[in-house]
Symmetry: C2
Subunit: 612 residues, 2 copies
């Protein structure tokens, strides 16, 4: 099985083209501006002098991810992003000019700590190298220019020497995974098996060294996935982004080596996350303490950490696994992330981003530590998107994922085309010329027309939320394992499916303490929320009836509807406690898509509403 | 108005006599043993030498509170506690022998830091002095022996010099309040107005100095109530025990000086706590961060701090205020604390104690910080009572409050007797010989017989939970402002009241986020809970119907009934989310009094249950 590349997919008018263009014409520029202002671009200009902003750890990786995003954009549209490409060219020249004789290339260590090269396990050196490798591959594929790629291949040789051949490095495994998956991409791109072997070297070492955790004073070896050999893993543990980058590499490695044990570990982990550790928004990593996975069913809403990078990594892990086995669970997770945690990551104007993506905001509680010295107070949950962070990994990760989002829609195996996601788009490759006409996710009506089709069969993933659909096609179909299957479709075909989309309430597994007695209102793949700016009540004092009549109120041709219903607001009374009453009043409620929250100033927000 | 002293009140057989005796025959001995083992008793023997356990800050105050408890016990029963009295006598001799020439008497500073006397505001010096003063007064009243009292009066002279006359002390107000209320007790006991003036000096200084907080690196001046002059206070703020000890002193001072402004501040604070910051158990101080009050309606259950000392202080604050004005709110708060937070403070065998009194236990969540280094993990909520703590202020505070609990039952004003609480007891003073026959709180039937009554009127407080009562008496009565009022009762009377006691569900003010959609089951003044050892389900997955039939199941002649009802348990399913179902099964539930929880091993517990 193989995913069909975004190169072959082009969004047409509508929801996803708008979203794609928001990244292309706003986010990419906003991230660049802030990166220039904060010295991140300068980092790769190697122009640090006393008095300037000091290069920060791994800031080159931020720029690399941004450049990777630009590369995907110019792959699809070679005429776009001229200014950004000029910057990338400048930085490539700079990297080539400053690369050390032995191939080493990390601007933080070279400019600030040249004596500490490959000495500090926590310092993200190989993480940065990984992102630069991914970026170089993307740029080479986009432009055919190989200078960046060659620079990185020289760096990889240097890494091989230090960590494998000569073992001069002072640590064995990277404190933050990323290079493993990048090396496998480099193997795919060059065909040179040494890169795959290097990736396997790093993957197999994890949990098999006596290296301490990246900071024994703060975290255990679980934090950086160095407590258990990878083939023995059962649960997702530790720093969510580090962990999931490793899981992606494990999955990619298992598919290339046929390592059934490694594949089984990946399958266990995917099950563990998607069935026990994932927010309804697709977010993962519930705790800010260590930005980490915690225990099963621990999914607090107010303190949900759910880093944007972690959701992106989980999407990529699901995408990788979807190449191993036909299973609608992967597409379901990807759809959940796409329409919720991923969309929420960015402001309506495209310029600002969430690092955390909380599932509840309750402003009154935020200042509860009234008598603690300001620096002793607990870190407050985020409540507004920001254009830049001190650790600004998320914004460029958001850049690059939207620029390649076409990757998630189709896959193919043995003469079969699989439609995994739905959007108004065209697919054109050697095997088909297909157009999908739809307003999805505004409604579930899909019209697919195909010409020059060499595929024998076409599978459509039935969305996880969909209980009922209509099909209009001259072809017959069957429902099989979560897919609608059309066989022998012929050279030309036309299929219309209506995945019946209606608002519905979702409940959590009863072990999720945070959501006890509560439900989330959804419409298609989109989770909805209430914001206090549109519902001026104490949001936790509202109870909805899951059988209430819900009006789907259109808000425009390319934007999702609002959901209107009446709820019961508990009435205030003097004092704190009284015998339970039914003293509630009916109030009109406006739910909007979760991902749109926090675009109207700071205010309370809730996803999981009290529900009977 | 004046409370009638516990000296005149004697519990008869039943619930409260058992509880009183548990303190007298088990807790007092348990606390003494642990204090002896941990060097706390030695602290006042002034026998520290290299290699022994070092005296700790304020450990003398722990011993003082324990001795105060013993003093109350021997007040009521001069034949009891012979061993404990011998220890107290030994320690009094030791204190007299070691008291410094200028009267100073703090074993921690004298034995470890003699050069730092009255230099360290955070070090609880005056707090300890206050507890020793209270203890000395109690011992003098109990025994007529004045050695301890004289020692403390000499110490107070020394304090007066250092803080008021000569101002040699390096700070102005105590970092932990307590001496203020002790000085007013000393004024009451001796009639010497200088002690009242000293108390007023310390009270009036608060919020009027430029002293920093006790630790500017950790807390603000709000923490130790030094940010606002006392007459301007509106809300309860900062460390809950420090704050409430101050509020008690303010109330006592206002009553003795007629200071209306100070009284108004007390009234505002009592309203603020009881209407916005108090757990249903009467616990206060919701946050472990600073052991402090936070913001209004912030009453988390899992992380409820609700220190036993804070509940005791709040009871004493309400008791003090009840001498200012006839208002059933004070008795209601006292009853709430008595039957819930105060009773929960002690194990069934009387030997172990809660410092915090959580309103929920969820063991699975406790180890959620899986990848943090052990010392970096959040402090876990308490889940078992302990015989001793590093800071062991609560156990002896529990000793002394139970030993004087007779204080809360009656008060008198202008020829009127007020019955504030109900128990099987006798009241004998110059004005009445009264016996109350009742099984309260097992049921609400009260039979009062009185002889030799010189009171003109008798008021019975209608319990806050009581909607309906029957009265059988030859006297007529009226219902007035929360009381049942009998006028012109005569020399002898007999009154039977049946406060109709039935199980009922309580709801919180809708702004209490933690209790949204939930209710607590109560019976009379007693809050009930479910423990997993008696209800082996995920407790948050249970929903009760507030109209369900509840069986009141007797458990014995002197113990509270269990409440049995059926609830709906949400069924487990594969995965995390699904469309809201009504897939629940009916399960039998056993609720027991909250205060009995954690007597059967560590297990989950819940007070606020999902409720429709």
């Amino acid at each position: 099985m193989e995913n069909i590349s975004f190169k072959n997919v082009k969004f047409n008018e509508g929801f996803w083209l708008n979203r794609y263009n928001l990244n292309k014409y706003s986010s990419i520029q906003s991230v660049y501006k802030r990166f220039e202002e904060t010295g991140r671009i300068d980092t790769l200009r190697f122009n640090y002098t006393e008095g300037k902003i000091k290069p920060g750890v791994a800031q080159d990786s931020d720029v690399a991810k941004w450049a990777e995003g630009v590369s995907y954009l110019i792959t699809s549209d070679p005429e776009c992003c001229k200014d950004e490409v000029a910057i990338i060219e400048e930085l490539i020249d700079s990297m080539e000019a400053h690369q050390m004789e032995d191939g080493y290339l990390n601007p933080y260590f070279m400019q600030l700590f040249p004596d500490a090269i490959f000495c500090r396990r926590p310092a993200h050196e190989l993480y940065s190298a990984g992102h630069l490798i991914e970026s170089a591959i993307a740029y080479h594929k986009a432009t055919g220019k190989d200078k960046f790629l060659k620079v990185m291949m020289r760096y990889v040789d240097c890494i091989e020497k230090a960590f494998i051949t000569e073992k001069t490095a002072k640590f064995q495994t990277p404190g933050h995974e990323e290079i493993e998956l990048a090396l496998i991409k480099l193997y795919d791109h060059t065909g040179n098996k040494k890169y795959l072997d290097m990736a396997l070297h790093f993957i197999n070492l994890r949990g098999n060294t006596d290296e301490p955790s990246i900071d024994e004073n703060v975290v255990t070896k679980k934090y950086d996935q160095n407590d258990t050999p990878v083939r023995e893993l059962t649960d997702a543990e530790g720093h969510a982004v580090r962990a999931t980058y490793l899981y992606i590499a494990m999955s990619e490695a298992a598919q290339r080596t046929g390592d059934a044990e490694l594949q089984a570990a990946c399958d266990r982990i995917f099950d563990n996350i998607s069935k026990k550790r994932m927010y309804i928004t697709g977010g993962i990593g519930s705790s800010g303490m260590g930005e980490a996975f915690t225990v099963t069913y621990d999914l607090p809403n107010l303190k949900a950490y759910t880093e944007s990078c972690a959701a992106i990594a989980f999407l990529l892990f699901a995408l990788s696994l979807s190449n191993n086995r036909l299973d609608p669970a992967y597409g379901a997770v990807i759809e959940r992330i796409m329409y919720n945690n991923l969309l929420s990551s960015t402001s309506a104007d495209g310029k600002a981003f969430f690092y955390e993506n909380p599932l509840e905001i309750h402003l009154h509680s935020l200042e509860k530590e009234t008598c603690m010295a300001p620096h002793k107070r607990s870190k407050l949950p985020i409540r507004t998107r920001k254009e830049i962070f001190e650790t600004s990994c998320c914004p460029p990760n958001i850049n690059r994922i939207f620029a390649r989002l076409g990757d998630v829609f189709f896959s193919e195996f043995d003469g079969t085309l699989v439609v995994n996601q739905y959007a108004a788009l065209g697919l054109n490759n050697d095997s088909i010329s297909l157009s999908m006409d739809t307003s999805y996710p505004l409604n579930g009506k899909i019209n697919v027309k195909a010409n020059a089709c060499k595929y024998k069969n076409v599978y459509f993933r039935i969305p996880e939320w969909c209980d009922d659909f209509d099909i209009s096609a001259s072809l017959s179909y069957k429902k099989e394992n979560g897919y609608i299957v059309f066989e022998n479709v012929g050279d030309t075909f036309e299929i219309a499916i209506d995945f019946k989309m209606m608002p519905y309430f979702v409940e959590s597994h009863p072990n999720v303490r945070a959501n006890a007695g509560r439900a989330a209102l959804c419409y298609g793949p989109v989770v909805y929320c209430m914001e206090r700016c549109f519902n001026n009540y104490e949001l936790n004092a509202i109870t909805v009836d899951s059988s209430a009549k819900i009006d789907v109120v259109s808000t425009g041709i390319d934007t999702l509807p609002e959901l209107h219903l009446n709820g019961a607001l508990s009435c205030e009374f003097d004092g704190l406690y009284r015998k339970k009453s039914n003293d509630k009043k009916s109030v009109p409620l406006v739910f909007k898509p979760y991902y749109t929250f926090a675009n109207n100033g700071e205010c309370d927000m809730i996803v999981w509403v009290n529900c009977i």
